[in-house]
Amino acid sequence: MRPFEYVRAGDAAAAVALVSADPQAQYLAGGTTQIDLMLKDGVIAPERLVDIAGLPLRGVSRRGDTLCVGTLTTMAVLAADPVVAGRIPFVREALLAGASPQLRNMATIGGNLLQRTRCRYFRDADVTACNKRTPGSGCAAMRGPARMHAILGASAHCIAVHPSDLCVPLVALDAVVDIEGAGGSRSVPLTQFYVLPGDRPDIENVLEHGDLITRVRIPLLPAGTRSGYLKVRDRASYEFALTSAAAALLIEDGTIVQARLALGGVGTVPWRAREAEEILNGAPANDQTFHAAAGAAIRDPFTVPGTAFKVELAQRTIIRILQTVSGARS
């Protein structure tokens, strides 16, 4: 571990100015991924940490049919919010399926969006072949054992999964990320926030160095919409997803009027299943539709021997959550 300077940010503008001006500086919020990767794994080594925990970017407020979530709001606080429970319950389910109670008291919503992959090769500084850490060095996961890896959005350069549960319902809901940067403020839909690895897996999102996520805006579901999050994993709790699915369905007289579907555990980015949504919208809410949607969701997967099982597992996960949300299975 390299020593670093610790700085407490006075306000958001000062924090942005400081990090923007220093390529070796990073923001520090909940720290649950960052402290781990710095102090324990030795995979990242910023020379300066700018602690933003004291900034007034915390809390949840409702504006019409949108929930505005300050970037420093913890996972525990968002999970306990009554509007989340009432109007976007699959967000609450995803939050409570993630991490542990201790980590949910620490980890922030902005940090959750930016959490780094759990790929064991990325997190092992002794592994030299990792295009995400060192562009052009190769991908050890392509040759070594791989299980917790991506089958969608992957390439021979990188098969690392985006590990967030929360982001799965958030991309399904078309959440929007508000960003403060050296050049001013802007907003980016979460579905356009992440960048597929391609041949540059070190570039994970559209943020420029020094950009600060200040808020996430989450549209609420229309009244009458049902939603659910299903996470399949190797342990019953406190484990990352092998596959997961977030679904929201508005059904009238047996017909799906509006469907939202996204997948976790299988994508290099939180995966919006638009092809599946097209099949679901306007179709009868039955098993035949759900099977067709599941098939469309996992088209042209990129698998290695260790991840081939995820194709069928992800499809079954989709079918199960659609059956549950539609009421066909309790």
Partner: protein, 164 residues
């Protein structure tokens, strides 16, 4: 308002640990866990995996349970920290400590301080409604001896559900 720099790699901070103010001069890299154990001599809080996977280092920060191995001491300046040493009152064990002893909720004991701190928080959060709920909301605390059934029994008893 400007930023507060610590040009020195060391920082000055004040922690309120188990009700007592403690002033510290530390390397900014110091975790809360190491500050408690190495600088303050409070070795009740255990270092297990030291990377957020096992829960042995669980303490309460401003009343909420957190993993002290993944918090910098610097992040805790001016905040309240409660460790296992701070649970007893006037020589009287905390009811959760009593319940762990009565129910034999441990074997080797290494994970026990973390289990108890997590259980105290769980009761505060109102998550002891059923054994299933206790297990889910204790899932951040691993016990390699496998004392889980007795840990659940201890929490159930401390929650006042022992007759169920």
């Amino acid at each position: 308002m400007g930023n507060t720099h610590f040009a020195d790699p060391d920082i000055d901070l004040t922690l309120r640990v188990n009700g007592c103010e403690r002033r510290l001069h530390l390397d900014s890299c110091r975790t809360l866990l190491d500050a408690l154990r190495e600088d303050l001599g409070l070795t009740g809080t255990k270092k297990g995996c030291d990377q957020g996977a096992c829960g042995a280092c669980t303490v309460l920060l401003d009343g909420k349970r957190v993993l002290s191995c993944l918090v910098l001491a610097a992040q805790c300046d001016g905040r309240d920290v409660t460790t296992i040493e701070g649970l007893a009152r006037d020589g009287q064990l905390h009811p959760v400590q009593e319940a762990f002893i009565r129910n034999d909720g441990f074997q080797c004991g290494y994970c026990t301080p973390g289990q108890i701190m997590s259980a105290v928080a769980l009761l505060e959060e109102g998550r002891a409604g059923s054994d299933e709920e206790i297990r889910e909301f204790m899932s951040g605390n691993l016990c390699r001896c496998g004392a889980y059934p007795n840990i659940v029994a201890a929490i159930r008893e401390a929650a006042g559900r022992e007759g169920e």
